[in-house]
Symmetry: C2
Subunit: 457 residues, 2 copies
């Protein structure tokens, strides 16, 4: 494993990704998100700052209604409107050399054959700087828009995802032999047809004969990311992901989740050291702690409590639409006992005397992943995360580009001095940058590399 942490910009092609209301801050350029120039500026900034990647979240539908309508979701820009991040990748690749692009795509959005083809094309045009964050969509509106009558039950969604990645793996890893692409002008042979195989996948949801239309790309299978926190999600991550995105509530909580996922991965036959654990954090930096606190207060002023609650509710799949943001959380849990599991750990983290409201919860939810302080204090905090087993950070934007310019100008030098952040890029593909020396392809014990049970023709 590399000794430095990975640092990624964590964002979405939308004005309101995580910190709802922050688009109102006068220094925020995120409302330019439909413009390519905006993203090209970001990519160049991040590459100059030695960030590893832009990690694009996505939401292929509307968040659940809030108080019976989408007025808050739309009006306050809760992950709406939003564009397709896959469509940005080749533009960003055109102006960078080392920065990678991890894109979220849900198994809902495209047939796996079409998605695998697009992904391989992107892995080619980025010279292997492409990653896929695999998600099963939780949003009813996203499902309805692709013609599914109702959202599939949670565990069933992971069985669906299992088959989706199985199809993609067969296309990426087993359709083309390494030397199938010949390009012999003299003999007139472009592809050795005997070395390109149908995959003949037949499963409960998909029937895909193949072959894959794209010759093997630098990584074949893009670097794989996943963010599941449920039991089914962790099992899926342990089996498939090379980078696990988590928003742990503390280094201690991270350490315990990491140990569990690593132990599952080992049981799947994988090398548990070939996994990155990437914590979502954001940073407010000052040259003194006081300055940092002042900046934080300014930012908190634009954060929108109601929109945060709506996002929180939607993101954990809870119906909180009957909740008033001012309602004490203790009352809410009495009315809706089903939510206790989801909010208990938050309740535990808050001072018992505070009698927090629903809005407090959401605001708190937006605060525990925030580190405010001097570059030294931030570096100290990151040392704690590293000791807990965290190997990367998804830096969530409050201001774009402000969150990243501050980080690159003020925090990065201290991190580099301590060996926590790279000073120069490692060579090769995203996978080689994540796991130096291991080569561009998935390691052999990964399930994608195993010969599929249905013999290819």
């Amino acid at each position: 494993m590399r000794s430095t942490l990975m640092f990624n910009m964590f964002c979405m092609d939308t004005p309101g990704h995580v910190h709802q209301g922050a688009w109102r801050h006068p220094d925020n350029r995120i409302h330019e998100h439909n413009s390519l120039a905006f993203w090209l500026d970001m990519a160049k900034l991040l590459e100059g700052g030695k960030f590893d990647a832009i990690f694009f979240a996505d939401a292929a539908g509307l968040y659940p209604k809030w108080h019976g309508s989408w007025d808050v979701i739309m009006g306050k820009a809760v992950q709406f409107p939003n564009g397709d991040p896959m469509a940005l990748v080749s533009g960003l690749a055109a102006v960078t050399e080392h920065l990678s692009f991890v894109v979220t795509s849900s198994v809902l959005q495209h047939p796996p054959f079409s998605f695998a083809r697009t992904a391989s094309t992107l892995d080619h045009v980025t010279n292997g700087r492409f990653g896929w964050n695999i998600v099963t969509s939780f949003m009813e509106n996203a499902a309805l828009n692709v013609g599914l009558r109702m959202m599939t039950e949670h565990d069933e969604r992971y069985r669906w995802a299992d088959e989706y990645v199985e199809v993609a793996y067969k296309l990426w890893e087993h359709s083309w032999e390494d030397d199938a692409l010949v390009v012999d002008r003299e003999k007139g042979v472009y592809t050795d047809a005997a070395k390109v195989h149908l995959i003949n996948h037949v499963g409960p949801r998909y029937t895909v004969p193949g072959p894959h239309l794209v010759p093997p790309s630098p990584q074949r299978t893009p670097a794989l990311f996943q963010a599941g926190t449920s039991a089914a999600g962790r099992a899926f991550a342990a089996r498939n992901a090379e980078g696990i995105f988590m928003i742990a509530r503390s280094p201690r909580a991270a350490a315990s989740a990491i140990a569990e996922i690593k132990s599952r991965a080992t049981r799947f036959g994988r090398d548990a050291d070939q996994m990155h654990f990437i914590q979502g954090l954001t940073f407010v930096v000052g040259s003194t702690e006081e300055e940092a606190r002042r900046k934080e207060a300014e930012l908190d002023e634009v954060i929108d409590g109601e929109a945060m609650v709506a996002t929180f509710a939607g993101s954990i799949g809870l119906d909180l639409s009957t909740a008033d943001p001012a309602e004490p959380l203790a009352e809410l849990v009495k009315r809706l006992p089903g939510i206790r599991g989801s909010v208990q750990s938050l309740l535990d983290s808050l001072p018992p005397s505070s009698n927090p409201t629903v809005e407090d919860l959401a605001r708190f939810n937006g605060r525990y992943w925030r580190v405010t302080g001097t570059p030294e204090q931030i570096a100290d905090a990151l040392e704690d995360w590293r000791v807990a087993g965290i190997t990367g950070v998804n830096v969530m934007s409050m201001l774009t580009p402000g969150t990243y310019t501050d980080f690159i100008e003020q925090v990065a030098p201290e991190l580099q001095r301590r060996g926590l952040m790279q000073r120069e890029y490692l060579p090769g593909t995203l996978r080689e940058k994540m796991f130096p020396g291991a080569g561009p392809r998935l390691p052999a014990p990964h399930p994608a590399r195993r010969q599929p049970s249905a013999k290819p023709a």
Copy 2:
């Protein structure tokens, strides 16, 4: 209508698009098609040469088998391997300012909701330089790979395409009102939720509530292209397309097809002058006719007759797999009377004494769209096409970039002198460049603009 012809590079993200075997020519760089650098070079070359667009064909599956296998299709690179052209667009947009990108996408490949979102994102990031070539795939392998058991019957495919574009139109034109995007930092209103509508589409194949996730892009609906030649295809084109791609066998044949499509368009209530008719042609240029003929002979040496036949058979959807390339066409028509309709016009164009073979047919098929000569002779030929009503040319590559460098260096100055080709780009979006003065949006009589029957919520 503009007075100059449109000129587009007509190509595909594959080594063997139209002129099979040409990849073997030592000056051909098309085998670099997986590299972004290759495409960026092409885009810059074409923009320097005042081309209007890159027009990407696509084939989301394998051509039909030939003599019982895919050995010829794969071995000789008949539109295989191939990448997803949508994935290239933002990269090409990043290094150009005026060049547009027309991309073929079949109704098979993606759910219409997902496709419409990607297309809107691309229309944003290109500043309105994006066009969609609408196709219904004819290839069984493409259908099977997205889980369809058998290819749908031809006319039914157009009914399917009708519904697919209807969904896309509702999302692009009727989901967002013009002033729905507010971005008022003071009031904290990003989107006026009252002005974003569900589309509530319910049809035989698709159920899509919406809303569209992307705010209106510069053109809203990308500039629309289509290439159907059957009766159902022409009706579809007349109703929907702003640019009709055709490979007419002569200016006279073009004139008659154009008259028919214009008359149909008028019956649909459209302005028949708001349509481009774009002929597929390729050019072999010399400073003398003799030099041009010498270059042509060199090129013909690398063209692969068998691969041309396989392409021809696949592209017209005929099963010619029992045909020997050396079989006289007259015999073949006796054995397979069903193909007479498809080959009769070709037979009519060949000298009656020639007793052509299947391979002759395919080679001829690759020759009638070729203009070989001096810049003056080529300009003369283009004048004939313009008189027939052709308003644009899809320049098919024999060599990449050679076909285009020759054209730009040698032919373009003569065309510009005669007013056949633009010297400078017109301002605005692709649609405004195609139809100066008409604005970036589809004209009101276009069916996409009509209020859909199901009232949006």
